[in-house]
Symmetry: C2
Amino acid sequence: MQTRRGVVETPVFMPVGTQATVKGMLPETLRQIGAQIILGNTYHLYLRPGHELIKRLGGLHRFMNWDGPILTDSGGFQVFSLGELRRIDEEGAVFQSHLDGSRHQLTPEKSIAIQEALGADIIMAFDECIPYPADRAYVAASTARSGRWARRCRHARREGDGAALFGIVQGGMEPDLRRRSAEELMAIGFEGYALGGLSVGEETSLMYDVMEYSLPLLPEEAPRYVMGVGTPENLIEGIARGADMFDCVMPTRNARNGVLFTSRGKISIKQARYREDERPLDENCSCYVCRHYSRAYLRHLFQANEILSSVLNTHHNLHYYLHLMASARDAIEAGRFGEFRREFHARRQNVES
Amino acid sequence: MQTRRGVVETPVFMPVGTQATVKGMLPETLRQIGAQIILGNTYHLYLRPGHELIKRLGGLHRFMNWDGPILTDSGGFQVFSLGELRRIDEEGAVFQSHLDGSRHQLTPEKSIAIQEALGADIIMAFDECIPYPADRAYVAASTARSGRWARRCRHARREGDGAALFGIVQGGMEPDLRRRSAEELMAIGFEGYALGGLSVGEETSLMYDVMEYSLPLLPEEAPRYVMGVGTPENLIEGIARGADMFDCVMPTRNARNGVLFTSRGKISIKQARYREDERPLDENCSCYVCRHYSRAYLRHLFQANEILSSVLNTHHNLHYYLHLMASARDAIEAGRFGEFRREFHARRQNVES
């Protein structure tokens, strides 16, 4: 995938940097472990420190010392997650800040303006992430409105700066509504297309079904991004169904909760069984953490609530995700992704279960 | 100073690694910014994860991935800080854990055994850190008892492993009691000598007085360590009075509270004045943080309560302390420490006051 800040090899996982930082990680370390592109959150950065401030300071890349590509979400997902604190109409959404209760409006035009001020290389259209379950009438109305918003986003975009605008396919778990949404977006024309409204509580098989029938609707020459997904298994299954891009807080959030990914499954490092365990987290892992620290030490840091616990755990989990994607790319290039996928599932089992 | 893990150049500042980690710092980064030796806390490591566990896992160095020298305190300072939770007699101290209320006894012999199990390169004698103010009778009795404990520590030490044992001069703010304590310790014989009972609430001038009359009492060929001190000014004044070693939580704890050291004084990064300040923390600083981040970004991280705030702030503050000590060593070697000291004080003023 070509961006204005260089080529991104796909399939790619994008670490989430909500508040102008991937929690606990130096940008240099992100690079070292293979991060190519990171995600910033429009909602959070708009509220604090403010997109205008970041723009005056030279943009998000300079502000946070990351010179690779940045994709920003539209803010819609966070706003719609506010529940009682927000109201939605044709114009956009009115919401109260989770920080201080102040009132704000977010519209397609405003979302684009914020993302442009931040200096995002990939800008996401403003849409509503439909909850699950939802009745078909609501899904249809919401998806149609997100389609109208997508057109307003396209019009609002300042062209000629090299940043890309991605449209987001909604339609809930309804195949015909997904198809209609995809067709509307393609008629408008975007530099890339995302599937929204997944990982919202639906069964995994349903998520895979939606990927299976929706991804082939999208143009093959454009990047296809499955938003907010997911587990290592979800990523591999997404790739098998044609997805190119993923983001998820799972590796970073789990890390801070002491849940660590290994080639054989998940580990909850706080368990007493690791108290004197001299082994690295994952004997098959080449990351800095696995080369230098024992499970016993990582458990101690977690129990003692030490900052280094989050730092080392995040490093390992992101390395796991990024290395998994690099391995998937290698397998695809070698024409053996099917085999890679089978081996991956065979190896992955929850080591604690 | 020769240790069994190599030479330490003095005067030296030792970052504090209470729970088998210098909070927020990778060992590699500590090395990069010039840390030569770090301090571990016997009380904390004894309670969690336990010195026997650390010993079975190959010692503290291996456990925390730090191959430089480690000095451990005796545990006395923390135990005596517990207030109502502890009781002291000739044998030692009985205390309740701040973690779970369990009862424990710490004696000179036990303190030495714990520090040996941890694998400390420099072991501190078990003593009572006398509070300030304290009446002369109490100071005299406590200091005499600490002297008897020092002798028990010397006897308890397993010789032949190359680790050093340091005695700790007490005596409160009483010149004659300090002298008597120093003489007693020298009669027993230690590889190094510390001044304890400073930085306990006394006026700065009183602290300097105690250093001034106590440090010259100690053998010039042995390292002289002023425990728990202090501000950058305290360090320079300590060096001027003959101190070789220092430790203090100030750079690391202040960092987590957003208080940052610069060549011109202290900065509280949360202040609104730094909201859009593009400058580095300290224009005279060559550290990673000052080369890559603005005050505005550091303020944002602090306001957003981000992990990276503690990480970057700690990096900068420790770099400041370690660089200050390196500059002092250079000045001493060049025979211009007096000039260095005057310039340091002239430059340092609180930039916010």
